[in-house]
Structures are given as C-alpha cells and as structure tokens.
Amino acid sequence: MFFLDNAWLTWALPASAFVVILFFGRRLPGKGAEIGIAAVGGSFVLSCAAAAQWIGRGTIGEGEERVRGAVDHTLYTWFSNGQVKVPLGIHVDGLTVMMLLVVTLVSLLVQVYSTAYMHGDRRYTYFYAALALFTASMLVLVTSSTTIFLLLGWEGVGLCSFMLIGHWWEEKDNSDAALKAFFTTRLGDAGMLIGIIILFFANGQSFDIARLNRAALSGGIDHTVLVVGAVALFMGVIGKSAQFPLHTWLPDAMAGPTPVSALIHAATMVVAGVYLVARCYGVFWAAFRVGHHPAWHGISYVAVIGAITIVIAAALAFVQDDIKKVLAYSTVSQLGYMVMALGVGAWTGGIFHLFTHAFFKACLFLGAGSVSHSGSHHSFDMKKDMGGLWRAMPITHATFVIASLALAGIFPLAGFWSKDDILLTAGKNGYNAFMVVGLVGAFMTAAYMARTVYLTFYGEHRGGHHGGQHSAAGHAVDAPHESPLAITVPLVVLAAFSVVAGWLNGFGVHWFAEWTRNEVVVQAHVPEYKFSAPTAALSMAVAVAGIGVGLLYYLRHAFGPLHRATERSSLARAGYRFLLNKYYLDVLYTDIIVGSIKGAIARGAYWVNQRVIDGAVNAVGIGARALARFTYEVVDQKVVDGLVNGTGASAEGGGSVLRRLQTGRVQQYAAFLFGAGAIGALALVLYANQGAR
C-alpha cells in the first residue's frame, strides 16, 4: 500500500516545484512551465496508483457495514503541550482518493493548456509558481487528517486564489476583485476558525477529524455544542464555496486568467467547502439531524443555504453577457447543488456531483478561454464579439456542447447521473421541497446553457476588429480559427471525462458509491438508493424542456410577448435590473453596511461633540460668567479688592520663582520624579518599621 501510505508525496512534489520555479524558473528554457507540468504530472501518476491500490484494498465488515478501512498516518508532531498534541498527518480514504484524482488531473490539464493560453505573458513564471503552490495547498487540504492541517491548505488555496485573480494587477478592477475574493472568504474563515476551536474542545482537545466524526455520531458531544460548531464551521463553507449570501466574490474572480478560473473557481478550490462538509459529515449529520429517520428529521440549515444558492445564482446567469460570468454563476449554482445534496443526506450524490462537475465545468471554462484566445480577440462578451463560431472552431465547439449537455443533465452524460442521484435521495429521504428546488434548478441550468451555447457558437458572427482587454499573447489574428493543440487536447480529454465520468455510478453499477464509502458514512447509516427510472425520467424531461425553451426563445424567437418585455413592462424592467445588479447584495455590503457603520460612528461622534461636550463647555461658561459677575459686583469690588492688591505683588514674586522649575526639560522632571519616589519610599519604610515595632 505504498501509494496510500505515502499520499503526502502528491503534495510534496508540487510544493517543491513551487520553490524550484520561484528560484530557477526564469533561467529554464520553458520558463518554469516544464517543472510545474512534470511535478503535477507526477502527482497525477501517484494519485492514479493510489486509486488503483485503494480499489484493490480489502474491505472490512459485512453487508451494510462493508467498507474499505482508511489509511491514517501521523507524519510529524508539530508541537505538543501537556496532553494536547498537534500532529500533522494524512488521512486517505475513498473521498480523499477521488479528490486527489480530480485535483491532479484538472491541474495537469490546466497547466498544459496554459502553455498556449498564457504564452508570452509578462509574469509567466510567476503564474506557474502560483499554480504549483495552489495544487500543493489543495492536496494538503484533501489529505489532511486534522482540522488544523486542513486549515493550512484552506488558507493556502485562498492565498493562491488571491495571487492568481490579481495576476494582471495593473488594472485596478483586477486587484479589486482579488481583494474582494480574499476579504469575502476571510469573513467566512473567521467563523470557520471559531468552529474549529469549538470542535477542538468538544472533541477532547484533539484536532483529529476521524475522531471528531466518531464522537459526533456516537453522541459523545453535546448537541448544542455540535450545532454551534457546525454552524460556525459552515460559515467557512459559505465563504469558500461561494454560497448565498457570500457568493458575490466568485463572479468578480473571473478577472483572473481563464485557466485560473477553470482550475480554482470551478473545479477545485471552490469545492473545498463541499469537501469540508463531506469530510466532517458526522458533525453536520448529527448537528442538523439529516437523514431519513422520522425522529431525526429536521429542516437542515445546510440544505436551505444550498437551495437558495441554486435558484438565485441560476437566475443571475440569465442576464450576464460575459461568458465567463455565466459560467461563474453556473458554478455557484452547482455548488449550491452539492451543498444541498449534503444537507439532505445525499452524501454520495453530493461528492459524485463534485466529481463530474469538475470535468465539465473545467471543460466549459477552458472552452470559453479557447474562444476568447482564438475566436473573439480576447473578449468574453457573448453579445458583442461572439456568435457563429462553430464552423471556425469545430473542436472547441464540440467539446463545449458536450460539456454543456453534461451540465444540463442530459442522458447519458456525467451530469445526468450525479444530478439524478441527488434528486432521488432528496425525494426518498423526504425532502420533497428540496427535490422540487433541484428540478427548478435543473430547468434553469439547461435553459441558460442553451442561451450561452447559442450566443457563442450559432447565429451571426458579431466579432469586430477592436483589440481585447487581456491582450496576453499580443498577437492579432484577423479571422476566428481553431486553437493550438495545447488548448484542444485538454478540452478533448475533459469532454471525454464529461461523458464517461458518470458511468462509474450509472447504468446499474455503483462503483463510485462503493469506492468512496468511508467509515463515517457507515457509522451514520447514510442511505443509498438504487437508480430509479421515474425520477430519472422526470429530471431528464425537465432538462430537455429547459434546453427546448432556451433554444426556442433564442433560435426561433418563440414566446413573442416575452421578447423585449423589458422595454414594454416596467415590472419586467425592474426585475431585469434587480438581477443585473445582483440583488443589490454588493450595494448592501459596501454602501449600506460598511457605509452606515462608518457614517453612524462619524455622526455619533459629531453629535457627542456638538451636544454633550460643547453643551457642557457652554454650560460651564455661562455658569462661570454669572458667577463671575456676581463675584465681581458683590465680593470683588467691595471686599477683596483691597486685599488682592496687596497679595498680587507677592504672588507675582512666587510665580517667577516657581517658573524656573518649569524648564520643559524632561530629565529634570525625571530627576524630581525619582527623588520624590525615593523620598516617598523612605517614608513608607520608616512607617512600616514603626508599625513592626
């Protein structure tokens, strides 16, 4: 079991590649790209070997309890203090192996793709260094056995995301987007840190995740503590996996280079939150009483957040003209699917959707990049610069359509099987409302993907001859043409996976479910359901209807009254504007929340200043004036005057003597201070001695 026991090698390779690229990358013939590709390729081979060993691993337990035992190793004890030990270890089970494969495969393809896409970029080497560090961090995250080590990877991917979104930081929009992504996820991470600390103490002062899951499922942790810990932990998920209401950073993150969008904001980093829920599933399962048992049935907070995210993000995808933004909102919506799946007890469905989604979404993003690279002069605007590209870019077109169909959930492509699994489990577990939300989401997904494909590849070509914003390559080619091999080969590979990845758990086989089963799932008795034709037919029908409606609307201009509705009906216009402004969430965050806090503090301080302080000062002044007049008229004039005239002269004399002490020289003051202190101490000593006698 060499490859399972030494799963740390998968992240050690890219981590060392990061260092090598950083220091020597510029001097190498390939500017560091070859190091990155070799390291991630090595990790991919290691992951494949680990997967093979995992599948070949014997099972323990019988019947329902049958499971492959996880590999758990402590690599190194970071520090120990009293009875608290903080080990850095690896925990490898089916979920980990699945994530290893997804992360290394997508990373490898993205790095190959970037050799063409980023060719000639001014920070090419730096880009590859950041990609290598990103892959290493993500692999640390998925192999970690403790929450603290997981947090290391979690923050590592956040950092790399920041570096890569702001890759072209010379434009202020890009660096703003990077900051927004960083700060928004940081908001969730604050909650996550609190959750980790709460669960650390609840878990008998241990960061170990496997032990945490066991304790949570066996009732070893008080339920209230568990709920608070799970809610806090889930804040991190909301931030990182772009769930409502912190999803606003992900579409802006499209400011980064397209391969980054594919790698980070579709296939790997954003699923870290989903992975966290799946990894700590015992906590969420017990805290929110997910599951099919009636006594355990409750409205799951996780599922509600996921369901809201599905619908609002899918609605936003309809009004975007930027192809990457459509895909970004689609990603948010699909992440909502995964989170909702985990919230309704569809553990396998959730991570299976993570698995399939990684392939077709990476394919879509890379396809969009290919279109902008070779077909639309580095623009991403579907309405202005695309259309009619299918003839010029056959491979991109074919792979994009396949991935879109997979995303829409068309039989027998990958998305169909995973989406179906989620809907089926939600229904069987009694979460009917969430199943309906899932179907609505599937319909909307199919419809907006139909719109996107139509606007990009069909109809009239609308491309002009103006230069794009991101002129990374700097070469201008007039007519749209197919992209080079380094771009098309990854597309084809990903499209192939978009077709076949679903078959691992489709057509009556349940390999994926069996391979990823882990001890937590067994201990929690997470239900598994066999494929059901009626549900599948329903979801398929919804998807086809979505595509049909989308195509009819854009291709045949059906539903006549709806066209130009925004120009005729003020209600439709208001709705459109509401969507275009992303539900005004950004306005809420930056202008209303931050603005009002800033303003309120300033206004409050001003009020205090004006009323309280000035008032007090004025009152004192008025009182003093009245008193002074009284004193002057009655006392001063008549009584004191005579006396004062006499003492005035002596006061002046005393003042001029004392004035000499006010030299303004600090050290002289210090000498008086020390002297006075010493004299005071002497007095104290004498007094104490007197008392003692």
């Binding site: 203090n81 020289r665 010493a678 101490a681 002497l682 000593v685």
Partner: protein
C-alpha cells in the same frame, strides 16, 4: 546580621563566579553611564547583559539566560548600534554627552541605592537561594514552556499583540513620508 562573606552554604564555585560576574558588571554598568564614547557605551552594555545572562545561569534559569543573550545582545544592542549610526552620533570621544544636572542625578541615584540596600538588609538578611542544589530543577525549560502556554497564556497573547503594535508603531513613526 551575618556578613556576606559568611554565606551559609559553602558554594565556593558559585560564589567565586558570582563575585567575578558582579564585579565586572558593576564596573561595566558604571562605564555605560559615564563613558565619553557612545560606541564604547554600547559595548560596555554588552558586558553587563552577558553578565546578567551568567547570573541567570547561577540561578538555574538556563532558558532565560539563552533568551537574554539572543534577544538583548543579538537584537537590542545591534538596534542600539543602528540607532547610533543613523543619528550620526560622534563616534570618537565627545565631551558633551552629559547634561548639567549630574550632581542632582548622582544624589538621587545614591539616595535610592542607600534606601534599597537598607530595605534589603532589613528584609532578607538571612534568606538563602539554593536553586542549584535541587537536581530535579536543573532543567527548567519544559516548566517554563508549560507555564507560559497554560497558566500565563493570556499575558503571552497580550505580549504578542503588544509586539505587533510596537512593530507597526515603530514603522509608522520612523518612516519618511
């Protein structure tokens, strides 16, 4: 009142070491505050600080002794030397390093010293320290670590925040804008 020389335990080696350290520290400390050469003052300060580390060793506080050497001699004295360079202080002998209140300062210092000596003799004339006589106490580093991270973890965190504040503050004060 028993005299100093008639210390109860005959810790000859320790007392010899202490006497040597104390004498050199006293001389060096006085030179720090009287020397006419500002760089020499910093070097005499090194002697005092190293002597203090030696005293810590005599008191079986080996971890603190090492920290004393690293932080004080390694960092703070270097900082002082930087301060001397950056303020373009005269590097050779200079007459005017003292202000004109030396008599006052001397009086205050001697008065304090007399007072302290009187109090100490009065309070602790027969108190013994035998830190080095307990074999189990030879290694105190683990105890220090446990105390800092368990009993005194809140002050420890406060100190770390303070260091951060001082870092930011020093940068803000000293930068040219």
């Amino acid at each position: 009142m028993p005299s100093l020389l008639a210390a109860a335990h005959l810790d000859v080696a320790q007392n010899v070491a202490f006497g040597f350290l104390a004498a050199s520290m006293a001389v060096a400390a006085i030179r720090v505050v009287t020397t006419k050469n500002i760089v020499h003052a910093a070097l005499y300060l090194v002697v005092v600080l190293a002597g203090v580390a030696g005293i810590y060793l005599l008191l079986a506080a080996e971890f603190t002794a090492v920290v004393q050497i690293i932080v004080y001699i390694g960092a703070i004295v270097v900082l002082f030397l930087f301060g001397i360079m950056l303020t373009r202080a005269p590097l050779g002998r200079t007459a005017n390093l003292d202000n004109n209140q030396r008599p006052l300062a001397l009086a205050v210092a001697l008065f304090l010293l007399g007072l302290l000596v009187y109090v100490l003799v009065d309070a602790f004339h027969s108190a013994h320290v035998d830190a080095l006589h307990r074999p189990l106490r030879v290694g105190t580093t683990a105890l220090v670590g446990n105390a800092i991270f368990q009993t005194y973890v809140v002050p420890f965190e406060a100190v770390s925040v303070l260091l951060l504040a001082a870092l930011v503050g020093a940068v803000v004060i000293a930068r040219r804008d």
